[in-house]
Symmetry: C2
Amino acid sequence: MRIPLDHQSAVPLYQQIERYLRQSILSGDLVPETRLPSTRELAESLGVSRITVTNAYAELESDGLIYSREGSGTYVMAPVTPSSSPGTAANTLWPLWQREVSLGELLPQSRYPLLPASRASHPHPISFTGVGDPCQFPVKDFYKAIQTVIKRDGIAALDYGPFDEGYRPLRETLSHILASQGIRANPDNTLITSGSQQALALVCQLLLKPGDAILVEKPSYNFALALFQALNLKVVGVPMDEWGMQVELVEPLLQQYHPKLIYTIPNFQNPTGMCLSGARRRELVILANRYNVPILEDDFAGDLRYEGRAQPAIKALDPHGSVIYVGTFSKMLMPGLRVGFLVADGPIFGQLVDYKRVIDLTTSTLIQRGLDEYVTVGRYQAHLRRSCRVYRKRRDAMLAAIRRHLPPDVHVTPPQGGLFIWLRLPEGVSSLALLSIAAEQGVEFAPGSLFFVDRSEGEAYARLNFATQTPEDIEQGIQRLGVALRRLMG
Amino acid sequence: MRIPLDHQSAVPLYQQIERYLRQSILSGDLVPETRLPSTRELAESLGVSRITVTNAYAELESDGLIYSREGSGTYVMAPVTPSSSPGTAANTLWPLWQREVSLGELLPQSRYPLLPASRASHPHPISFTGVGDPCQFPVKDFYKAIQTVIKRDGIAALDYGPFDEGYRPLRETLSHILASQGIRANPDNTLITSGSQQALALVCQLLLKPGDAILVEKPSYNFALALFQALNLKVVGVPMDEWGMQVELVEPLLQQYHPKLIYTIPNFQNPTGMCLSGARRRELVILANRYNVPILEDDFAGDLRYEGRAQPAIKALDPHGSVIYVGTFSKMLMPGLRVGFLVADGPIFGQLVDYKRVIDLTTSTLIQRGLDEYVTVGRYQAHLRRSCRVYRKRRDAMLAAIRRHLPPDVHVTPPQGGLFIWLRLPEGVSSLALLSIAAEQGVEFAPGSLFFVDRSEGEAYARLNFATQTPEDIEQGIQRLGVALRRLMG
């Protein structure tokens, strides 16, 4: 083996040898299982001391590039095969256990972004997907809050903190905010989570096992459906109308499927935008108690109300500890913070705290403290009022644009708040077909099939987020959608 | 019903009524199921218009404090019972399903802090618990990085970002850092997680189901044990010696228990501080492939080496995709950030990405970007060298203090790096008994029983963290421990 050495170099000889061999191995010039010369042989052939070669080999060995077999010599390691995407050719080379993983199959529901490719096809696409409008985030004030925390708390803001329910002052602030919305929480039954998605996951993982049934509005939030399917739960859909889940259909389903959980988004439901009526809320609590089934109440945007009267939270109607309430700051503030929370009563609360601890120890201390510094009750309410004003105008702009630009057989029930308008498309129009034409025209939306377990049931629907675009872009986007629709319908 | 009203007040009459009733309900003066006067009756008796009373009732109803029954009148709601701690008196009042939750039972292992009560018992306690020393955190530089990110990225730093493997530049930086440590990762097989604990949880939840066996060093990391038990896994311990897990004992255990995962901390193991030898690493990979069992390699502090030569990562020895490597910034940098990562090859990687997405969508964008801005390879290495210098001195100080102040029959194997010294106490001394006397003397440590599934096996051991205290406090703390030991031994 010939290795060029520079005896004048500042780089030690052993490093020159080591680097040369490393390069040869990584480039494939030295193939796996090649036997290297012994340290004595190589030292002699290069005219260096044996310890020099020994050092070079030791470096390579400690990096896993070569290995020595007792009494037999030193060999080049087989390289670690670079990762290939799931489902591609080399599958059969991977260990058997890799092919036995039983992650549920709905995961197309969790694709994000929805249409990465089509984005490129129009110079100025208008997207009616996503959640709140980033331009409404109180970025400046939040960063000021972070700075205050840094100055005030120093190192403590970057250490673990106790592995408990979360930063106590934040839990106190939260219970005041919830009280102002009629939900009686207290800091001792409030758990901070890494976004509301983690709260959903904790509850499902703690309470259900693979194969268990879960009762869900049909349609429902795509990432909740993706979670349920990833956990191999049996998703049983309850049809909706404009007063939310049709609770009068629930009792026979309870008797037939014995679900272990009822998941509901009672306010401005995702994707339909509808609210569960007060009477149905009461009825649902009665059924939950009668059939010993917990309710998971996902109030992701309940405070974004633009008109009408709020119904009490289901949690507020439940004296028996049957309801677990989940909320988030994401829709109102900044989703990238990943802070949500849950409120639960009874022994289940302590178990959720314990479970969260083993799952990820705790949620970022810095973010919790920053959020608490920012979110005083007054400031939250002020930000809420501002957001509601902006989003209300956008909802109205979208409803008006729909009347102007879409055919009259597109059906819409105006939502009283939230983020979404749910369209039923004209007879025979497929939302996936529409999406690809719409994307060419420069407008995107979430196709209805994302929100159904049986994707074909969603073909006739489209979810439009009105909160992320200005009224001008809404007008333009709906106009484009109208063009696409007419083109599709011939 | 007499409600005092102030007709001169700026507070509208309906609000005065509403507040009075709210107060009466929350204080318990109006007990649940009390029938309220009809709106007509109350309006007449107060001398106000009926709409005023209707408005007040509507507010109370929307907050879940009262409810109306068709044709029968308006009633006070039963209050939501405040949360009580798990296991206390009122248990029987909660729904049945709350008593059927099967969270594993090891959760005492996850108590944190260990001794909240005892802390109060000494004016200046010295704690040998915890992880890295917060005083070594690069707080200033990190905050500068956060500011840079804020200025540079604005709103994008607070939005979701794509729900993928994590912030790509951070994954690129990570693969460079890992390469400098001999681990060939690339951004496309690296997943950012919310701390390394989440990485452990994702792997276990995806690959194992309740009742499955997992092979684990005995003793092992308490929060990993707590996770395994919370998931109702069968933990099978492999004894350790000073070269780590006794891999020569593994094959019969594989045959007997058919474990679905081998969990190992090969470098500066928690709690023993020992490293797995190179030969055993190779043998473990061979066994994993032969028996079709994945290895979960938890390298929580592998880069904190103060002397001796590093062995290659187990992942670096595995050409077949059998090893999932988990790392963290917590020990070196700031645990409160909650950023860890895993590296995996083969289709399992994509499934872990999908699973992480349904579990919590994504890890805080702001923190990921801040960390990437801070952690250049050069800066990381410099910080690492600085930390190693500091921690090495502390390790030496603790070893010297142990020789000086503890009886000679306290057994210690000096670790070559990491954070922990593992003590075997003199015959007949219980570490829990010692801990309570030590706490009185003003020194705390982690009792050995935390690190065993069968807690009684840990009675003879204590884990001391040498990294969190100055050499002076280490000297003082070990002296106190010596006093406590002699007191206990009579």
